[in-house]
């Protein structure tokens, strides 16, 4: 099948987007949705057969006060193992005396503090997608224990890791946070917590006290779990526990209800001292529940039972007389309630199983077939019978036996329910991830293999699709993959995304994978056949690489490599600024050389260089190269320069890279993004502060005028007027929503949503876009001059510029101005006179687009996403337009530069294949980082920063690839109009 390289590239990127989507679906499995928290449901009444029970209220609290002592990275053997015996004597004593129930609580990966705190307090297993769903606020919105406690009027005090304060910003009556980022310190962080202890233990005005000790985790990170520092730290913790326990005991004499002291860890510690992954050492944490209510006979010290970390939330809720958090997947730790009366015990277990079965109903379509649900129904019925007997006043042995039977039924039901619920939740769906990654990789390899042919003169080449799709290899692959699919889907305990889609689609995916593989194999064999004769040719042409090509190559490679380090992802803007700076310097060098050496050295050398430069246009395949009439090019270039006197022209050209460098440096100061330097003062903050409203207004006004000046020279006369009115509308919109001041109304207080103004601008945006499309259609139908087509493209570009001006926050308008300015300067002084080929121009556009993505204040963190853009001109949140506007506003830089590339190339029109080459290069350069990153993320999926750094970047990359695919398709549509013409 013969395909143009542009069409080929667009197809590839579209398939790649599918691959990335499958990968993302596997990487972010849709976990249990937080149930909408509109109204608190009344507690489920006690079941009763026949008569209705009189107990519809929540059962009362078991404990009066609860102290949670969370020791970060407390591993199970620190308490239960030899270290515990040696360093935690008091804890050991409590366990031996029977004051404590001891468990080993299993934490789910990622074993990182924040998700673990969430798991402890909500009982659910948080997935990253939950974080995305309520991005912008790290506040825990899900139903949780602290929220319930606050609603019930309980007073919560917290000391320790400030992650809690971010999660629960308004829940604590008193708190003192310590930051966990300064790892080398392991004394101060704990002293900061302990210093409050003496006073707070004396007081009576709290119900829940949470202490989060970080020192042990820091020691682990520094020196590992076997260091000599661990012992003293454990001793310190033991001492604190003793202090708390004794003070609680002394108070209990007056109080009616007992107190509860919980000692637990959020996650364990690997043998290297870190955490985050899923090794046994990292997921096993001790959980000690200490209370005088548990007092048992001495001597029966049992080995700790294995439970889930999520069980704590349900247990604490019951213990405090609170409703169990809605999304909790845990079951009550039965020993805690075993001393209560049978009726109470059954009531607690019933409440827990009702909550779990509700959660199951909401998340599993076939919930009735779940064994846990069936068990629950049976036990509820039995429970009803028991209540009936009980209410009838029956007190015989029968009642006790039945009660024990119901209890056992309930415990089994709870276990099964809890199991089937936690299976649902956030685990990497490795199968989908693999399939997605394979598709993405295959596409990238395909693109890389076809690069030499795709960039040849006629920009079209043979894809061995039909021959390979009938080959034996193809059928073999399909068969094998289908077999693998069947095996995985029948054996996997968890549900995979690919197993849940219809088998027809699954077979389609398998066929796609094998077809791609066959095409790659065919291409490879072809290339190897061709390589031998033309090896010399290749070597010769590779020496013709200019400094610019080398820079582009190494810059791309360097950027891809840098994605492996979390700091470089956090500070990716630095990479791009660095690269475009270097690019500008290289261009400056080229311009310089072009001017001074082109004349002074002997003519031969210059000509030689010139030929080399042209030869490199068609890098590898010199034999395909049909000489472009050079004289006509030179003539064209010189004719465009005749407008200005030669001398000025020369100096302007020499100064242009420096001008661009200065522009970029100015833009850098506008928005300080990233992590390390994010706190530095930037110009953007200065402008947006309310004291500098006048300056901001002036700047906005100037920027809008500049935008008009820069844009109007390429507008048709109609759209020129529309543009002017639209920009005026933008200013009115900003004035209406109170960002800027209109000169005649200095102190207007009323601030509207600016709906009318924004829609006024939208009308002009659509008008300009419509004019552009009309021109494009005209150029296609009436076989008119190419200039009409480029005029149409420029109109579309201008429409997008107007939309960008509306959506960008006013202090970011200079970004748009400089973007237009740099584009104009580059076009006039660099790309045209230096005659860069389409591939080089494309990659420069891509680099600048990336840099502008960061110039406008974005970062690889979800927190910088500007969702306000989604509400411009909308009365309320409407999903589709809001999503479109947000994505466009976020990716203004890359999109505008890409569309500029298209308009620039089509208006240059020196070679018909330019646009195909451009779209191919664009697809290639976008897909390389994505595929590299997908492999990286898969291998780093248990990294400490996977949720905080790598996952957001993955989402950004996914959206970027989607935009790239859209742009490539747009390129092709534009190019096709060119091809239809004779």
């Amino acid at each position: 099948m013969r395909l143009g390289s542009g069409v080929f590239a667009a197809c590839c990127v579209v398939i790649q987007v599918l691959g990335v989507a499958v990968f993302l679906r596997g990487f972010f499995p849709v976990s249990l949705r937080p149930v909408s928290q509109v109204q608190p449901q009344p507690p489920a009444p006690e079941p009763a057969a026949g008569t209705s029970s009189n107990w519809t209220q929540l059962p009362p609290a078991i404990f009066r006060k609860v102290i949670i002592m969370l020791v970060d990275a407390l591993r199970d053997d620190f308490v239960f193992g030899s270290k515990g015996v040696q360093f935690m004597p008091y804890t050991k004593y409590l366990m031996e005396k029977g004051f404590a129930h001891n468990f080993i609580a299993e934490a789910k990966p990622p074993t990182v503090t924040m998700p673990r705190i969430k798991a402890l307090m909500t009982g659910s297993i948080p997935g990253f997608i939950d974080v995305v769903m309520n991005f912008n606020s790290p506040v825990l919105l899900e139903d949780n224990l602290i929220g319930q406690a606050k609603a019930a009027g309980k007073r919560v005090i917290f000391y320790g890791d400030d992650t809690w304060i971010k999660l629960f910003p308004k829940h604590f009556v008193e708190y003192d946070g310590t930051t966990s980022f300064f790892v080398p310190d392991f004394k101060e962080v704990d002293d900061n917590v302990t210093r409050h202890l003496d006073t707070v233990l004396k007081r009576e005005d709290w119900d829940i006290l949470i202490l989060h000790y970080l020192g042990l985790d820091h020691i682990g990170h520094l020196t590992g779990p076997h260091s000599s520092l661990i012992g003293p730290k454990l001793k310190e913790m033991d001492y604190i526990l003793k202090k708390i326990h004794i003070s609680l005991l002394s108070k209990e004499k007056e109080a009616s209800l007992p107190h509860l002291l919980v000692l637990c860890g959020d996650h364990g510690m690997s043998e290297a001292g870190g955490h985050g992954a899923s090794s046994v050492e990292e997921v096993s944490t001790p959980l000690l529940l200490i209370s005088s209510a548990f007092h048992r006979k001495m001597g029966n010290l049992q080995p700790p039972k294995h439970v889930q970390q999520t069980d704590l939330a349900a247990t604490l809720a019951v213990g405090l007389g609170l409703p169990i958090p809605k999304n909790s997947v845990g079951s009550i730790l039965y020993p805690v309630v075993e001393k209560r009366t049978m009726r109470e015990q059954l009531r607690f277990l019933h409440l827990n199983s009702v909550q779990l079965s509700r959660l199951l109903q909401e998340n599993v379509p076939m919930y009735e077939k779940d064994p846990g649900f069936q068990q629950f129904k049976v036990s509820e019925k039995l429970h009803g019978n028991w209540i009936k007997l009980y209410l009838e006043g029956n007190n015989s042995e029968v009642l006790l036996n039945l009660g024990k039977k119901v209890l056992k039924q309930y415990l089994d039901a709870l276990k099964t329910l809890s199991m089937s619920l936690s299976k649902q939740v956030a685990q990497y769906d490795m199968y989908s991830m693999m399939v997605g990654a394979i598709i993405v990789l295959e596409i990238t390899i395909l693109l890389l293999l076809s690069t030499p042919k795709a960039l040849c003169q006629n920009a079209a080449f043979e894809i061995p699709l039909s021959s390979s799709s009938f080959s034996l290899l193809f059928y073999l692959m399909v068969l094998i993959l289908s077999a693998v699919h069947v095996i995985i889907c029948t054996s996997a305990e968890r549900t995979c995304f690919l197993c849940s889609i219809s088998w027809l689609m699954a077979v389609g995916v398998m066929m796609l994978i094998s077809a791609l593989l066959c095409v790659i194999v065919a291409l490879l064999t072809k290339t190897f056949e061709n390589v031998r004769p033309s090896a010399q040719n290749l070597a010769a042409s590779s020496s013709g690489w200019s400094e610019l090509d080398l820079l582009i190559l190494f810059g791309t490679l360097g950027h891809v490599l840098s994605l492996g380090a979390s700091s470089f992802i956090e500070e990716e803007h630095q990479t791009w600024y660095f690269l475009i700076n270097t690019l500008c310097l290289a261009l400056g060098h080229e311009v310089f050389r072009n001017h001074f050496l082109g004349k002074d050295l002997d003519h031969n050398l210059a000509v030689e260089q010139n030929i080399k430069k042209n030869a490199k246009n068609v890098l590898q395949y010199k034999n395909d190269y049909v000489d472009v009439p050079e004289t006509s090019k030179i003539y064209k270039a010189s004719s465009s320069m005749e407008l200005l006197p030669k001398v000025y022209e020369k100096w302007l050209q020499l100064a242009s890279p420096w001008f661009i460098l200065i522009c970029c440096r100015l833009l850098r100061t506008l928005n300080q993004t990233g992590v390390q330097w994010a706190h530095r003062l930037d110009f953007g903050h200065w402008l947006t502060s309310s004291d500098h409203k006048i300056e901001l207004s002036v700047l906005t006004c100037l920027s809008l005028i500049m935008i008009f000046v820069l844009v109007q020279r390429r507008c048709s006369s109609v759209s020129k007027v529309a543009m002017a009115l639209g920009l005026l509308g933008v200013f009115c919109y900003r004035a209406a929503i109170g960002n800027v001041l209109l000169p005649w109304q200095r102190d207007r207080k009323s601030i509207s949503k600016g709906i009318i103004e924004a829609r006024f601008v939208y009308v002009f945006v659509l008008g300009i876009l419509f004019t552009g499309i009309k021109d494009l259609l005209k150029s296609q139908i009436i076989f008119a001059d190419v200039s009409i087509k480029s005029l149409g493209l420029w109109d579309i570009y201008n429409g997008l510029v107007l939309l960008a001006a509306l959506l960008l926050r006013p202090h970011n308008l200079p970004v748009l101005v400089f973007s237009l300015l740099i584009q104009a300067v580059m076009t006039k002084f660099i790309w045209k006179p230096l005659k860069h080929d389409a591939a080089q121009v494309t990659i420069m556009h891509y680099w600048f687009g990336q840099a502008f993505f960061y110039f406008q204040g974005n970062s690889n963190n979800i927190a910088t996403l500007d969702i306000s853009a989604g509400f411009v001109g909308l009365e309320s949140f409407i999903e589709v337009p809001a999503l479109f506007l947000t994505v466009f506003a976020t990716y203004i830089g890359p999109i505008l530069w890409a569309i500029h590339l298209l308009s620039f190339l089509s208006s240059e029109n020196n070679r018909s294949s330019a646009i195909s080459h451009a779209s191919f290069c664009y697809a290639l350069i976008c897909s390389i980082p994505v595929s590299a990153y997908i492999i990286l993320v898969t291998s780093l999926r248990y990294h400490l920063f996977i949720w905080s750094v790598f996952s957001p970047k993955l989402l950004y990359e996914g959206v970027h690839l989607f935009i790239t695919a859209t742009i490539c398709v747009f390129f092709i549509v534009m190019d096709q109009t060119n091809l239809i013409k004779p």
């Binding site: 380090a565 979390s566 956090e570 050496l597 440096r665 390390q676």
Partner: protein, 228 residues
């Protein structure tokens, strides 16, 4: 034939001289990290970085000037008057200063803070100029045309041009690569601005000094051919 032979032996002698000069430079740079600690209290490359920076650039400058004036391949026109020499010297100084300013400007454009840490940035620019501009001034004189010729592809014609090209490129690339560790969150003392960059430049310069004689020796045939 004889002429060519003579030429090649001359080349070999030149390469040898170049090699010794470079080794001397490298040794002196290494010495600057040790020697001053005998005279200055608590001197170390990382902690009192600026002091080391000044000492190192001074040392390299002196060695360059002395050695290149000694072993200069073709002494400048013999009939130049003292006046002419002085004007050349002044011109060289001005050029050196300009190159410092230019480097400073480029570093700021790369994102170095404009006002704070100005001294650090400037000293970084100075050491970069010492590694790049100063050898050019010594070898080529204040002659921009000649510089341009040397720094274009295939423009270097002699051994000395080539070694200039290589050392300059490698020190600039070293400084460029030296900027990469800055965003990493390792919180090491050498990640502080501009230590990693200056160290990168120094290592690059030293690598260039080592590489250039080797490279020239391996490519001496082509060089002989080109200079004809």
């Amino acid at each position: 034939m004889g002429e060519r032979l003579q030429g090649s032996t001359m080349k070999d002698a030149d390469i040898k001289r170049l090699f010794y000069v470079h080794i001397f430079c490298i040794v002196s740079i290494i010495l600057t990290t040790f020697i001053p600690s005998f005279f200055l209290e608590d001197f170390s490359v990382l902690e009192t970085h600026l002091t080391w920076l000044c000492i190192c650039s001074m040392c390299v400058a002196i060695i360059n000037v002395v050695l290149y004036l000694q072993v200069k391949p073709n002494p400048s026109s013999k009939r130049s008057s003292i006046f002419h020499k002085i004007s050349r010297l002044l011109k060289s100084c001005v050029y050196f200063f300009i190159s410092c300013l230019l480097f400073h400007a480029i570093i700021v454009l790369y994102g170095a803070p404009l006002i704070e840490l100005m001294l650090e940035t400037f000293l970084f620019a100075v050491i970069l100029s010492t590694f790049t501009t100063l050898p050019c001034l010594c070898l080529l004189g204040p002659n921009i045309k000649a510089w341009l010729r040397v720094f274009t592809r295939n423009g270097a014609t002699s051994i000395w041009d080539n070694s200039l090209q290589i050392t300059t490129m490698s020190s600039v690339i070293g400084a460029w690569l030296g900027a990469f560790p800055i965003p990493l969150d390792w919180e090491r003392p050498w990640q502080v601005w501009p230590i990693s960059c200056t160290l990168g430049a120094t290592f690059g310069y030293m690598a260039g000094l080592l590489i250039s004689p080797v490279w020239i020796y391996r490519n001496r045939k082509q060089l002989t051919y080109k200079s004809r």
